[in-house]
Subunit: 419 residues, 2 copies
């Protein structure tokens, strides 16, 4: 007997027919003798509808009331899945965030889970009952409803798995695992059997949208074994194994690759401030106002000083925040002292990730050489212990991903058959 | 300063534009210095959508999970109204059923309110905050979500008013008050300024669908002054006074009418069992199975025995239950011993209501004479202290209502101007 958390996203919950399919998958695990908690998202589109209502009611909506409104989507699907499970002959009940309770911080609309009380839940699971738990929601100490921010259901599932000391947290989604890169760009991309938390974090943060970044960080911290797999089963009704996300110690040397995957991200914009005076405090004058405005700055490149005693500073911000960033920087122009602000949205970030690169030199060199050989200009570089990211012109994105995939030996032996 | 409960139905909450209108009405009462709790329904159509999901998931859905699903509609509108009130510059917060809490029985899907804890609410109201409370929902002692059954939001509002010791419970709806009869049938129908609880109960139970019957019974028991009025205001934004539903002692003799109103109901079907043996227990054999089947029998007429020692028994049941009633009666045929079952759905019940008739003979006689003069045949009669109901052929419904309205002197002096 194992304890398993199964998490289903909005596409899997979109309509009663699909909810019935989910009930079948859950029943199968239950019949195998496992104790099961299911964490569900709202029906696809429902959260958008509810968020739309709040925005229409007021652009400055109270996040406490927003949470009351938008948390209802998961309340609906958890009740419906409990009904569908019962109809399939399986004892089940829903547990709303306040019922367990799932205690969170009081930062409404992006709360953090602080504690999950599993006393009653354990009793219910021990009695053979399946627990259906709405993702994305919780309650404060003062009993106000909270939500965890968009995509928070993955985090709910991992937090539940940690609290329940589950053997595994299976995240069912519309892809069947984590790939070496986006298969729409590289048909010979391979599904990874295992990937480490750190690698998954890097991949998730640079555009591989399989799992919400926060959920991966939490899984790493709590040591929760996460599996990403598809809820769309074939004719035989059997679920194919997905990708396991685990600690580095669970991946033996034979399995280990130098590079695990290649991600790309087109959601950043590049900003360059020209001729910033090269003096102490100059950088703080730039990034202080952006941080205060809640804008997430990613790559930062500062060249050596010009002979004039000034320097150019380049960095990236999310495209969605570009207009606001420019506004903030123009207001701070006097203090920063740059002569010109240049921005560019037609850029992409390419990242190669792999824990193996810790012990192998030359990963970055291979990257630069491979891109250079195709005439792809590198606009900026950042590195960490397990990744190298470069900024390039957006038009070269797919080409760059393909040539790097080949260069690092990630191509599958054969192209998959056409689906 | 007064304490007021304001209740808004699904039509008033259908969409953000209407919710903003509601916020304006609420703000006006708040600016007048009153303490306000607002009870809201789900958006029109939303409860039907959610009920539909449950039925699709399983025809034998667990009512505990049904309650989790369908209570979400009011959760959404209460959060949205709180946002709209804040946007209008009024402090407001939502209080879900479990947050107050509103304690109910554990008869899921048709729970009864047992107790409302207003400790925290009182503090919030005293601080000048408007409380927005989802109607229709509550929570059991064991913290499961409950709903009160369809139309339960009126009951929620009256129960809140009783718990808060409110001076008034204003039920905003799509009509502007209680009329002497349906103005679509009688253009000269008059809006009543006041009506007693008992009269309203009789009117509500025979088809005047302004208020849910249970809410009127509760208002009577708790002595809550209820006002029915329209949420659709004119150009000037001023709400017109509606109809007050109060205790008999609040209506002075000058205001008192012999007859308060005339209602009609086309939702009943007539069943006659022919030649039922005239022996003790015969009636129990008929109505026992129907009661066990949860079928609400209304008018019952048993004629005197035929010379043969048998009698015909006629009664009405809701049209929606007719097929099931026939089925139950056919199964019990051996025990009851009737020779034939006749049924008729083309009937209507006409009811004249008025506390004044207690002290005046001749109300029933006027009714029979008035209908007889127009050749309208009376199929059955029931009376209570403050009403007389007759069953007639459905085709005569409008004619009967009109001639009775005139006969009892209820016609307004002039027809209203065309709207």
């Amino acid at each position: 007997m194992a304890r398993i958390v199964m998490k289903f996203g909005g596409t899997s919950m979109a309509g009663i027919e699909r909810i019935r399919t989910v009930a079948k998958l859950v029943k199968r695990e239950w019949e195998a003798g496992n104790q099961i908690a299911v964490v569900v998202s709202a029906m696809a589109g429902d959260t958008d509808r509810l968020v739309g209502f709040c925005r229409e009611a007021s652009s400055l909506y109270d996040p406490r009331e927003y949470d009351v409104v938008v948390s209802s989507g998961e309340q609906v699907t958890s009740g419906l899945l409990a009904i569908a499970l019962q109809a399939a002959g399986v004892p089940a009940r829903s547990w709303l965030g306040w019922q367990l309770p799932i205690r969170t911080s009081d930062v409404h609309a992006s709360a953090r889970i602080e504690d999950i009380d599993t006393t009653e839940l354990d009793r219910s699971l021990a009695a053979g009952e399946i627990a259906v738990i709405p993702g994305f929601q919780g309650a404060t100490e003062g009993n106000r409803v909270t939500t965890l921010g968009r995509g928070g259901s993955d985090t709910s599932a991992v937090a539940m798995a940690a609290a329940m000391k589950a053997d595994r947290c299976d995240i069912y989604t519309d892809v069947d695992g984590v790939y070496t890169t986006d298969p729409r760009i590289v048909p010979r991309a391979r599904k990874l059997q295992k990937v480490t938390y750190e690698e998954m974090l890097e991949l998730a943060s640079v555009g591989a949208k399989v799992l919400q970044t926060r959920s991966v960080g939490l899984a790493m911290k709590e040591g929760v074994r996460v599996q990403v797999l598809s809820s769309f089963v074939g004719e035989d009704g059997v679920v194919r194994p997905g990708t396991l996300i685990v600690g580095e110690e669970e991946i033996d040397d034979m399995e280990r690759q130098l590079i695990t995957g290649i991600a790309h991200d087109k959601n950043e914009a590049k900003v360059t401030l020209v001729e910033v005076p090269d003096r102490p405090g100059a950088v703080a004058a730039i990034f202080g106002p952006l941080a205060a405005g809640g804008i997430n700055v990613d790559m930062i490149v500062q060249n050596i000083a010009h002979a004039t005693g000034s320097t150019d500073v380049t960095f990236t911000v999310p495209k969605a925040d570009l207009a606001r960033a420019i506004d903030l920087l123009e207001k701070a122009r006097g203090e920063i002292g740059y002569t010109k602000l240049i921005h560019d949205t037609r850029i992409a970030k390419i990242t190669v990730v792999g824990v193996g690169m810790r012990s192998h030199a030359g990963v970055a060199a291979t990257m630069f050489a491979t891109l250079g050989a195709r005439g792809i200009n590198i606009l900026a570089i950042t590195t960490s212990e397990i990744k190298v990211s470069v900024l390039i012109e957006e038009d070269y994105t797919e080409l760059a991903v393909r040539v790097l995939h080949t260069a690092y030996g990630l191509d599958a032996a054969e192209e998959p058959e056409a689906a």
